[in-house]
Amino acid sequence: MPQIRLTTPLTDEVVEKLRIGQRVLLNGVLYTARDAAHKKMVELLDRGEKLPIPLEGQVIYYVGPSPAKPGRVIGSAGPTTSGRMDPYAPRLIALGLKGMIGKGKRSPEVIKAIKQYKAVYFAAVGGAAALLARAIKSCRVVAYPELGPEAIHELIVEDFPVIVVNDVLGADLYDEGVKIYAGR
């Protein structure tokens, strides 16, 4: 299958062209965040304060890596279930977040925000955590170190493999895929 190579940060022009089912190799910076970090970021926004990471054009990877063995950049690092971030994601998308990487279905509110603000939701293969870690070339904590594996890390990735699941048209690969293969 053909693959599209992209570099972050992503622009509207790039995101608009992506369609569900396409395989993408991501390069550049990704920020990690799970529910605890999302909750803290939204609390900052509620108080009118500045976020610890830029959002404009950025991509957030929903992951809580295992500890790095000595001499390694990061431990195993596959995606976690995205649904837990659904209550927070539309707010970040409205502020310029362009991409999210995780696994599992998003809420109608997230899908609507993806369409409205031109963003994209990618799936990485859940459980392929040792394989995905190989594409991560550097890792440093940039916020909330007290959260341990749930801290916000800045990752630099090379050809990190993902699949487009929700695109700017509002399409959902999880729904479409099931329709194609059910009963076959």
Binding site: V63, G64, G83, G127, P161
Partner: protein, 280 residues
């Protein structure tokens, strides 16, 4: 009477925690290869290839196959002629989990209280199931269980009149509703009968059976086959991206139950169907 030192139990549990997380069983690898042959979706095939490659890297480099290295679920079958010396049995198991997760660079995913939610920092306590059996051996099974798939599990107290059709509908609906979340292709453990808690434990124990080994009772084995086919007709596919192979196996365990009851529990495991055992 045979004496087993608590320190031996600790060392064994520590090793099993690491092995279970690094080395996917041959039965699961075989099931991946069979799934790769049967899968018709190109995306599905690609996912299965990534999973095979991932398992190879994890084993060769001795790193966890998944970053969610799980809740340490430990089954102990204790021979009634065994006497544990040199310490508290459960503390020995927990110390093994502590060491295994620390020394093996496994993620610590346990919070101390379901509502206060502070990480215990060492992945303890384990969930320990103990059974007393005849003999003078101690069998230890460590089955690290990930949160994503555990969250998609469920239990229903059916009316006996709903019968086997009710059971099938509940199991299939549970897998359908789970969709992509439990990291398909999944292994589906089903417990039918017993009481509320017995059904749940049967479903968990069903996940420990090697893939490709049907239930010894022909009627239950036929039910497993029928459920697997129905689940693989849902179209969910590897990672829920559409395809044939939604489940690698369905394992059913049964137990006698009350005249008024028909409990059914479904425990879903992700494709990282991890468990390792040792006999002392």
């Amino acid at each position: 009477m045979r004496l087993i030192d608590a320190a031996t139990i600790t060392a064994t549990v520590a090793e099993l925690c690491q092995k279970a997380n690094y080395e996917l069983g041959e039965d699961v690898l075989r099931a991946f290869n069979e799934a790769l042959e049967q899968e018709i979706s190109l995306t599905g095939k690609d996912v299965l290839q990534q999973l095979l490659e991932n398992a190879r890297i994890a084993r060769e480099e001795q790193v966890p196959m998944c970053q969610d290295t799980g809740f340490a679920v430990v089954f102990l079958e204790i021979g009634q002629e065994v006497m544990i010396t040199g310490g508290d049995l459960y503390e020995a198991v927990n110390e093994g989990v502590r060491r295994g997760y620390r020394d093996g660079y496994l993620r610590k995913s346990i919070v101390d209280h379901p509502l206060r939610r502070k990480n215990t920092g060492d992945n303890t306590p384990a969930v320990i199931h103990t059974r007393i059996v005849p003999g003078d051996k101690l069998r230890i099974v460590v089955a690290p269980k990930g949160g994503g798939s555990e969250n998609m599990s469920g239990l229903r107290m059916l009316k006996p009149a709903e019968g086997v059709e009710g059971v099938k509908n509940f199991v299939i609906e549970q897998v359908r509703a789970a969709g992509p979340n439990p990291c398909p292709p999944v292994v589906v453990g089903v417990g039918i009968g017993g009481t509320f808690e017995k059904a749940a434990l049967l479903a968990k124990e069903a996940l420990l059976r090697p893939l490709g080994q049907p239930h010894p009772d022909a009627e239950i084995a036929a039910l497993e086959k029928e459920l697997l086919e129905a689940i693989n007709n849902l179209g969910i596919g590897p990672q829920g991206l559409g395809g044939r192979i939604t489940a690698l196996a369905v394992h059913v365990e049964v137990y006698p139950c009350h005249i008024a009851s028909l409990p059914v529990a479904v425990n879903i495991n992700c494709h990282a169907s991890r468990h390792k055992e040792a006999v002392l």
